[in-house]
Amino acid sequence: MNQAGWEMGFSYALGIAALCAGVLVISLRNPVHSALALVSCLLSVAGLFVLLDAEFLAGVQVLVYVGGVMVLFLFVIMLVSVERAGLATGRVYSSQALPAVLCVAVLVASFEVAVRLAGPALGGGSPAGRIDGGNTESVGADLYMRAALPFEIASVLLLVAIVGAVLLARERRSEHALD
């Protein structure tokens, strides 16, 4: 492999941490604990991004996901109190175990097929060498020069999402008060 020993060790450690946190996300009863496990999973993935020479993306991951999306999740969890929703004592899982097992089995099979098809392209022997220089400039150049139109569409999408979220979460009473 091209990566030095300690880098390999770090990526294995971060990957296993991400997997364990992912299992905790779907197995813990309290959604606040699930959210905290998801935060640690996202942070581990950000560390993997750093190891993959994607520092800008790691920063975006921490700022947007951990700083923004997860705070939104925690706000909604606090708003939707677990006790009132009756989930503190009830079943954690819906009765969908069989479809879940089937879906994951199909995924495993298709992954096998894909890896076999891609075989030589995936083979570990990538050329050696680290990438010099920061990657923020080059990612930014790619983003603004080659993906300018998708970038603008993404900003419109975010605007629509903001307006939609405000409309969806607004209390109906305030509507009457405005009338």
């Binding site: 990526s11 294995y12 990957g15 991400a18 997997l19 992912g22 299992v23 996300v25 779907i26 959604p31 699930s34 998801l38 999973c41 996202l42 993935v45 993997l48 991004f49 993959l52 994607a54 800008f56 975006v60 991951q61 996901y65 923004g68 999306v69 939104l72 999740f73 909604v76 708003l79 939707v80 929703a85 009756g86 989930l87 009830g90 899982y93 819906s94 969908q96 479809p99 879906c103 995924l107 890896v115 990538s126 050329p127 050696a128 990657n135 080059s138 990612v139 790619d142 983003l143 080659r146 975010l158 629509v160 999402a161 903001i162 939609g164 979220a165 405000v166 969806l168 979460a169 209390e171």
Partner: protein, 103 residues
């Protein structure tokens, strides 16, 4: 490289299992975030591989990942708005109790 592909696959599988088995709709949305992150790991790993191989545009995968993050943020905002609205109307966030559209 293959380590990242397997890791991304396992994370995606965990996300699928969470979406299919959990009852709490908020945890289901967290599992969706897990799946989107698995895809991001894959995109960045392939982008890194391209860069090492000296491709002309090695950062395409990272640009894709940025757009995935944008869409995930929008999806979380809308989805959580729907969750709040449903909770206000039905007093529940368990998916098997939200069955108004079933007959």
């Amino acid at each position: 490289m293959s380590f990242y592909v397997v890791l991304s696959f396992l994370l995606f599988g965990i996300g699928v299992a969470g979406v299919l088995t959990r009852r709490n709709i908020i945890v289901i949305m967290m599992s969706i975030e897990l799946m989107l992150n698995a895809v991001n790991v894959n995109l960045v790993a392939f982008s890194h591989n391209w860069e090492l191989r000296g491709a002309i545009d090695p950062h395409t995968g990272q640009v894709f990942a940025i757009f995935v993050i944008v869409v995930a943020a929008a999806e979380a905002a809308i989805g959580l708005g729907i969750v709040v609205s449903v909770f206000r109307n039905r007093e529940t966030v368990a998916i098997d109790e939200i069955d108004l559209l079933k007959w």
